[in-house]
């Protein structure tokens, strides 16, 4: 019994959020948000994990073999897609902000 994967997920979320809060550069903020979001992948996959189980792909192994939970893996796929779209939209907004203000500082251009 181990709590390490859950601890990794919590840590990823915390450092990501810390980056978003303290960052002085929007690109860094967006990547920090991606890091925080990566914690959900770790959490989902570790919740569905079963010891001594195979991947839920039965091309070579019989379907009677114990496999990890495919539902949370499918959810992680959704998660990845949503994360990618959020990153793309935020980056597009950051490009326009930089064009308008000449700065990527979330507190506005230096006066």
């Amino acid at each position: 019994m181990t709590y390490l994967p859950y601890a990794v997920a919590a840590w990823l979320f915390a450092v990501g959020l810390y980056g978003v809060v303290t960052s002085r550069n929007m690109l860094h903020q967006i990547i920090s948000l991606s890091v925080a979001q990566a914690s959900t992948y770790v959490l989902l996959l570790s919740v569905g994990f079963r010891t001594h189980a195979t991947a839920p792909v039965f091309g070579d192994v019989p379907p009677t073999r114990t496999a990890v939970d495919p539902v949370v893996q499918a959810l992680s796929l959704t998660d990845v897609v949503v994360g990618a779209t959020v990153t793309a939209l935020l980056l597009a907004i950051a490009v326009q902000v930089h064009k308008r203000t000449g700065s990527l500082d979330p507190e506005g251009p230096a006066t």
Binding site: V21, L89, Q96
Partner: protein, 251 residues
């Protein structure tokens, strides 16, 4: 708000959140022992029931196909959003197509990078198509394969063939391909209704387990999603590149 206040507020909130998180983790199953009822049913039932060997794809494009339709349209809406946000502004005009850097000259692409980039493009595209086509047999599917397809186009940019990419952008074929992929998903879903069953019900012939033509509607949905994701990501890519290598401020 100064950086110091922000950090103080964050640490206070993080302390409360950590307490809640530890409380929540206490209710999680011990690592490696989870036995969700749905997972077990799908692991043992999907192969005989749907003749599909990748159960994750079975969940995404069959049992949970309606949710994935929504997911696909999240992506569709995001691509539309990015192209709208990054459209040419009134004070911008298309300039000479070139890489641009502030305060320094951009070195030309070296021959080695050019050869490697262009040489890797066909295998990458082929691999993307393979991953899309075998989504119901092995790990992969429309989303994963679509991303690999778009990587092939990114390699063309890395190889320094900017003019070719710009040609891609001016042709609205990408937008049509993306819309076609999204529409094909719905059309496959409607096939279920026409067959007198439910929307997105897997009504097509299931074929033999492990064959390329098996698993009913899952393989065509994989193709539709692969087309949409591939075209959408290339559209995102050329939209961002258009910003940096084509658009110039005029005043």
């Amino acid at each position: 708000m100064t950086l110091r206040t922000r950090r103080a507020v964050f640490l206070l909130a993080a302390a409360v959140f950590t307490g809640l998180l530890l409380w929540g983790f206490g209710g999680l199953p011990h690592f490696g022992t989870f036995q969700g009822a749905y997972g077990v049913i799908l692991d043992h039932g999907a192969v005989p029931e749907r003749h599909i060997t990748d159960v994750v794809t079975a969940v995404n494009f069959d049992y949970r196909g309606f949710d994935t339709l929504g997911e696909e349209f999240i992506f569709f809406a995001a691509v539309v959003g990015v192209t709208c946000i990054l459209r040419a502004q009134p004070d911008e005009a298309s300039g000479h197509i070139a890489d641009y850097a502030f305060g320094r000259a951009v070195p030309p692409t070296s021959d080695a990078v050019r050869v490697l980039g262009l040489g890797l493009t066909p295998p990458t595209v082929l691999f993307g198509l393979y991953v899309i086509a075998h989504g119901h047999l092995t790990p992969g599917g429309g989303f994963q394969g679509g991303v690999i397809l778009a990587t092939g186009v990114l390699l063309i940019y890395l190889a320094g063939e900017l003019d070719d990419l710009h040609g891609l952008y001016t042709v609205p074929a990408l937008e049509r391909a993306e819309a076609l992929g999204a529409a094909a998903y719905i059309a496959i879903g409607l096939a279920g209704l026409l067959a007198g069953s439910a929307f997105l019900q897997n009504v097509w012939p299931l074929g033999r387990v492990g064959h390329l033509l098996s698993a009913g509607t899952v393989a065509p949905i994989d193709l539709a999603v692969g087309l949409e994701i591939g075209a959408g990501l290339v559209l995102l890519l050329v939209t961002f590149l258009h910003q940096t290598i084509v658009l110039r401020r005029t005043r």
